[in-house]
Symmetry: C2
Subunit: 366 residues, 2 copies
DNA sequence: GGTCGGAATGGTATCGATAACATTTGATGC
DNA sequence: GCATCAAATGTTATCGATACCATTCCGACC
């Protein structure tokens, strides 16, 4: 009579068959399930002997804690959602890496969602993510659909916007001003003597960070009293190496007197430079080229690319740290007041804008 | 008397306050929770009118489905865990992208874990992942710690190993032979006339895929009856551009007569090439260089890099498709027999091994 | 008109862990 | 020696949704 002949969950039991539960462990260790739970979480509050007994039982049964059950009960899922435009951009994957590192230290886990540079897609991803009841959510950029924004505002969890400094943030912010980085870069180009500077971007659309950089360029042109501005838009984001190559050709046709060009990302800068190589246009002699993002190749390609480093990893680490604080505060019932952290950026001067000959041209051939 | 003055969950209720539940929606729509659940999942089995009423109530209340509760009840978490060495390697992030795309179509979500090229770390990540009760798990490579392997075997969910063709797989396999790719590349180098070929890798360790490629190199040297082999090991994985630069210098010192070198990844190939530039060694004239992985920069840098393309995205898509089948089969109670899918690879010939002068050297300067 | 059958919906038990409170145990103080 | 208190452990209710089975409803068919 210990077997229930026909339970309401027959097929369910049949399918899963084994998979020991916490109660099984408890029984085997001769304690209550609650004690097992305590032993598995914080070792304190449990006698070393019972702890050992419990761990032995866990071993014997091959028990694995079920966090989805725990999450339901404790209302702590241990998830933090992170939305980025694309995984294939090393800037963003660096940021995720930084976030992940920090959250790991508290046993929290990252749920990654990619929006493919689309705000509509972002909205969908947010909706999906919220169903997982993350304890915090991190989004890239400060521009979202109205519904996306409203979902984030009413989710009741800490929100961090990164890679931007929105005027009206939803919650916390960890970022920098995309416009300001390019203004700084422009100032440096002036300083190095360039006066006719163009800008290469992707086609306008949802890539607001790219658009902000363009804004920075235009502001700088005005502020510095330059003769003219010239923006070449090629390709839908994500902007690729190819796009840069196409754009630079169009640029030279459009404005033959151009001396330097800023590309919206290092990848398009690389494409531009390579196309110049192919066409025999010297870089930086004929055209100086600068990028954005300080990708690994920017440092190592030839000529190396002048760029703006924004500390993608640091953004992630700061974001992760802030998120941990915000979650702790939220759990304690005292939400953290919105914080705004600005990450410093640096203009890195390299060969692609140098006013002297290439290093390789002066190096002696062996 | 409808309010319970002191419940056992006082603080809990106080903290969360609102957050409507399915029961709230049901009440407002004048139906049972079960009907709400049905309406929110598959629209069939619910009258259009009630469906509308329910959706209206969802809107009004701002209700968001709680999948963690659903997961507990239905034993379907909708998660698939994916373990990769690093997010910053575009090969792996492409694979994740491919997996993600496919799983999205069935509403399943990816849980990403990075192992940092360490088997010990992999074991830890697997343990953590299994606590989330994923419905499937995808790992990179076919070499794991004993405990990791045993955890995967007893998890009771489909397992797919990728980026390799293990001799004794745990479950399914979607990959290619790393050794074979390099053997093919070696054959092509022979065909193009190179006889003195070296290999640049990272220091031996947990990067078994790198090690397999080296094995392929050594097998090819023997099979082709070459004069000698030469392996330069620099840097702990992940192998970087820097490592390639250091390695090529050591290579030239070690074996001045070397004609060509295969690098364990395109990144180190790039580093090697750039270092050659700096030192005035012509590529491919003085030294031909080939890489592995067909990274975006390999196609676009100068000279472009001869490499092996392994279809990272395709691996992901095939893996995702297989995983969906395996999960469907598992849910139906009929586990899929282990399957082994081989992804084709291609040797891509580019300028860095060309036997003729650089395109740029022959192009007319404008 | 009554029965049958399928579609729509409701009721109840349950998934597996944990919060809160209750209880036991052991040690300490006077 | 007994009271007191803290530490260790047990008990119960619950998190929010879903599986399963029961029930209702309505039209069709003989």
């Amino acid at each position: 009579m210990s077997e229930r002949p026909t339970g309401p969950r027959k097929s369910r039991e049949a399918r899963a068959r084994k998979m020991p539960t916490m109660a099984d462990v408890a029984r085997r260790a001769g304690v209550s399930a609650m004690t097992v739970s305590r032993a598995l979480k914080d070792k304190s509050a449990v006698t070393p002997e019972t702890r050992d007994r419990i761990f032995q039982a866990v071993q014997d049964l091959g028990y694995v804690l079920d966090m989805s059950a725990g999450a339901l009960s404790s209302k702590k899922t241990g998830f933090v959602s992170v939305l980025i435009p694309s995984l294939n951009n090393s800037n963003f994957s660096d940021t995720v890496q930084g976030i992940s590192e920090i959250l790991d230290t508290e046993g929290m886990q990252v749920l990654i969602g990619t929006t493919n540079y689309s705000r509509v897609r972002e909205e969908q991803v947010i909706a999906t993510m919220l169903q997982r009841r993350p304890e915090g959510i991190i989004v890239t950029g400060g521009t979202h659909t109205a519904r996306a924004r409203s979902m984030l505002e009413t989710a009741g969890i800490p929100v961090i916007e990164t890679w931007d400094l929105p005027v009206a943030p939803i919650g916390h912010v960890v970022g920098f001003s995309n416009a300001a980085t390019i203004e700084d870069l422009m100032a440096r180009l002036m300083f190095w003597g360039y006066r006719r500077v163009a800008f290469i971007e992707g086609e306008p659309g949802d890539d607001t960070r790219g658009h902000d950089r363009r804004t920075g360029y235009e502001r700088a042109v005005r502020a510095l009293g330059l003769e003219r501005s010239c923006v070449i838009s090629v390709g839908r984001p994500p902007v690729t190496v190819e796009h840069g190559a196409q754009a630079v050709v169009r640029l030279i046709e459009t404005w033959p007197e151009v001396e330097a060009v800023i590309c919206v990302s290092d990848l398009s800068a690389l494409g531009a430079i390579m196309e110049c190589h192919r066409r025999g246009w010297d870089v930086p002699g004929r055209l100086a080229v600068a990028g954005f993002g300080d990708f690994q190749v920017a440092r190592h390609c030839w000529p190396s690319i002048t760029t703006v480093s924004v500390g993608s990893l640091a953004i992630g680490q700061e974001t992760g740290t802030l998120m941990l604080q915000a979650i702790a505060a939220m759990r304690a019932g005292t939400p953290l007041p919105p914080r705004r952290i600005t990450i410093p950026h640096t203009v890195i001067e390299r060969d692609s804008t140098a006013r002297q000959p290439h290093p390789a041209e002066t190096a002696p051939a062996p």
